[in-house]
């Protein structure tokens, strides 16, 4: 009997050991800087895991860098977007970040700076002044922290979040003009509702969408940019100020006018895009990502039928009219543990992923960049080109959740959903104010 037991246990151990064996080699390639100091192996984590054009482009850039630099070995790892924040956050808490990793602008990156987990890439900026000067205004500032105003990353994308897309043939059919002012906008919405066409498609299941695409731009037109920056700093302005309540009221007007389809809060972004494409809705306010996804899934005819413009002006407001909310997108940052050869190699890699050539390649994969590039019109979709030109003719307004603390971002996101469910505007303002105040106090 005993033999039998021993045999079974051995058997199980063998299976398990066999499973374990071939990774013992992999374990040595653990993704942290310290272990790799003997050779210039650079580890990089990013979220360009998918099949979309931009992801492929970035992966190609990394591969190319690896091939061209024989003395540097790149260990790249692509993590699905859905799990990226969670993965990076967990690993950061255990202090095990890779040498180089992709980060999002705003509070996500700020945490790494505060925890001393990343180091500046100032040397890159100083060595390549022409390159640094080619970034659009505010691009590098978004990654500037500390007293020395060190720069920690160079964005490889732009998040321009508030384009107004409209269906040209539906607008022709109902003899509508593209709305220029808020009143026009409400008229268009009313007409469409009378014709039983949903005015605006919105996929607000992930609750940041309404905030990032629609509310930020409306609020900027009402309050002006300066007020918002003051409120973020909690200096001389508070989110309970009447001017902010007014901004929320404007958003509520859209809801009350029936601009959004039923159940917008449970549709995801893709479903909303499809809803718009299938002409169930005549307009959609969304970010540049929509252009990329239309570019890869929609026929040329359908693309030509879509127009793109900015959100209507609000003449009574304090802010400028012709703006799009936007700012730097994600970029690559450098682990504070990286030193010596690894650091040099990592800096080279970061440069290779954000230099002139890289920015152009990314721009030509139908996605916006924060960099002054000339793109080849033939290489991109018509809609993208139109939007690209549009962006250059307007000014940027701040995206709310890029500047707010993460807690306050949650508060306004959930608050807008509450307003869509008939919630109280002032209660939303109060919660937002409280969250931002708490975050400021903690610092």
């Amino acid at each position: 009997m005993k033999k039998c037991i021993v045999f079974i246990i051995l058997f199980i151990m063998m299976i398990l050991a066999a499973c374990g064996n071939d990774d013992s080699t992999n374990a040595n390639q653990n993704n942290n800087g310290e272990e790799n100091t003997d050779s210039s192996t650079v580890t990089i984590w990013h979220n360009f895991a998918g099949d979309d054009l931009r992801a492929k482009t970035v992966r190609d850039l990394i591969e190319k860098f690896d091939e061209e630099n024989e003395d540097i070995q790149v260990e790249a790892e692509a993590i699905p977007v859905d799990g990226y924040r969670q993965r990076i956050s967990t690993v950061a808490a255990a202090q095990e970040l890779p040498d180089v990793f992709f980060t999002y602008a705003g509070s996500f990156t700020e945490r790494f700076y505060e925890g001393d987990l990343i180091q500046p890439i100032t040397s890159l900026i100083n060595e390549n002044t022409e390159w640094a000067d080619s970034f659009l205004p505010t691009a590098l500032e978004a990654y500037q922290y500390g007293e020395n105003e060190d720069i920690f990353s160079a964005p490889v994308g732009m998040s321009s979040t508030s384009y107004l897309f409209y269906n040209k043939s539906l607008f022709d059919k109902y003899q509508l003009e593209v709305p220029k002012t808020w009143d026009d906008f409400l008229d268009v919405i009313n007409t469409l509702n009378e014709q039983e066409v949903t005015p605006l498609a919105l996929g607000n299941k992930a609750p940041w969408v309404a905030q990032s695409t629609t509310f930020g731009a409306i609020a900027d037109r009402v309050t002006g940019t300066e007020w918002f920056m003051d409120a973020v700093a909690q200096e001389d302005a508070s989110f309970t100020d009447p001017v902010f309540i007014e901004a929320l009221e404007y958003f509520k007007q859209l809801v009350d006018a029936g601009a959004y389809p039923e159940g917008a809060n449970s549709m995801d972004n893709t479903q909303a895009e499809q809803y718009f494409l299938q002409e169930n809705a005549a307009m959609m306010i969304n970010g540049s990502w929509t252009i990329s996804s239309f570019g890869s899934t929609v026929s040329e005819d359908q693309l030509n039928n879509i127009g793109v413009t900015v959100i209507p002006s609000i003449p009574e407001g304090e802010g400028k009219a012709n703006t799009i909310t936007g700012g730097p997108g994600g970029g690559f940052v450098l682990n504070s543990n990286a030193e010596g050869e690894v650091k040099d190699a990592a800096l080279d890699l970061i440069y290779a992923l954000s230099n002139d050539e890289a920015q152009k390649a990314i721009a030509e994969s139908d996605s916006m960049v924060m960099y002054d590039v000339e793109i080849d019109q033939d290489k991109v979709s018509t809609l993208y080109y139109e939007a690209f030109e549009l962006v250059r003719s307007v000014e940027f307004a701040p995206v709310y959740d890029l500047h707010l603390s993460s807690g306050a971002g949650e508060a306004i996101n959930n608050g807008l959903q509450e307003i869509m469910l008939d919630g109280d505007v002032e209660a939303v303002a109060n919660k937002l104010q409280q969250a931002q105040e708490n975050a400021q106090n903690e610092e």
Partner: protein, 292 residues
């Protein structure tokens, strides 16, 4: 076996339409059919959706595909490297399931057959494990595994999977073993078999239905587990299936047709496994009824 067939004959042998109990039987069958339909439909929907293009998926989500092409499946297989993922998932899942069932059964045998002072405490101790949201253990576990260099190995998944499934395994098998009459093994005690002997020769074979149940539950959970796989494995050559299924979303938009195709592929092995274990459960049941 014979007994079961006999019982069955009694209730359903006569043509149901001409007997008194006929209407009841027919209603029952209709009810069961409708119920089965409700249970199967979503899987069916997943399968047909895998054949559709993105546009068709949104335009007519419930209709049959206009043309049946395997394009999505091929693309999904290649882009997500499902082959590698499938192998990794198999190793992790099978390893974890074996470990879970063996340790679970051993512990259950002790808990169901021996009385000792700390028994109640041990039971409570295991209950706690069923209440823990896995997300809260991520950071401590990651730190621990990192210290012992276990990250990026299959063990980094097999051990946590087993540990978190053990309470359920222990409970199910203990409950089952407790209901097996004690007289049966008393005979073998007299025969002189040791505890291992009783365990392997008596308890294990008699608990096959419970163990098969645990095996199914464990297999399915491990096969579909996402969070641990996301955090504890870096190396793309060790990635398991659930990670590969989520790469068709870029955070803003999702390629539904490829996602559906990949999910349909991923579900096939679990169906096969289920059919296999269901056989085991049935066999165990038959054995159980013969025994009586």
């Amino acid at each position: 076996m014979q007994q079961d067939i006999r019982v069955e004959n009694k209730s359903t042998y006569q043509s149901p339409f001409f007997t008194k109990r006929g209407i009841g039987s027919v209603l029952r069958i209709i009810f069961l059919l409708v119920f089965s339909f409700l249970m199967i439909y979503p899987l069916y929907w997943l399968m047909i959706s895998g054949f559709k293009s993105n546009e068709e998926f949104f335009a007519s989500p419930y209709a049959l595909p206009q043309e049946w092409t395997f394009q999505n499946f091929i693309e999904a297989w290649q882009i997500a490297d499902l082959g590698t993922a499938m192998i990794n998932s198999t190793i992790v899942t099978v390893g974890g399931t074996l470990l879970t069932v063996f340790i679970g059964a051993l512990t259950a045998y002790v808990l169901s057959r021996f009385d000792f002072r700390l028994k109640g405490l041990v039971m409570v101790f295991f209950v706690i494990g069923m209440l823990i949201p896995v997300h809260s253990t991520l950071v401590p576990l990651f730190t621990m595994m990192n210290k012992v260099d276990m990250l990026n190995t299959y063990w980094a998944l097999i051990l946590p999977y087993t540990a978190f499934e053990l309470p359920i395994a222990i409970f199910l098998i203990t409950a089952y073993m407790s209901s097996i009459p004690k007289e049966i093994e008393e005979a073998s005690v007299i025969d002189g078999a040791g505890y291992w002997g009783i365990f392997f020769r008596m308890m294990l074979p008699m608990s096959i239905p419970a163990m098969a149940t645990v095996a199914i539950l464990a297999f399915l959970r491990y096969w579909n587990e996402y969070v641990f796989a996301l955090v504890f494995i870096n190396d793309s050559s060790l990635k398991t299936l659930p990670l590969s299924l989520s790469i068709f979303s870029d955070g803003y938009s999702t390629n539904y047709s490829l996602t559906m195709a990949a999910m349909a592929i991923a579900v096939i092995p679990t169906i096969i496994m289920y059919v296999f274990f269901q056989e085991q459960i049935m066999k165990g049941m038959v054995a159980g009824s013969v025994k009586g």
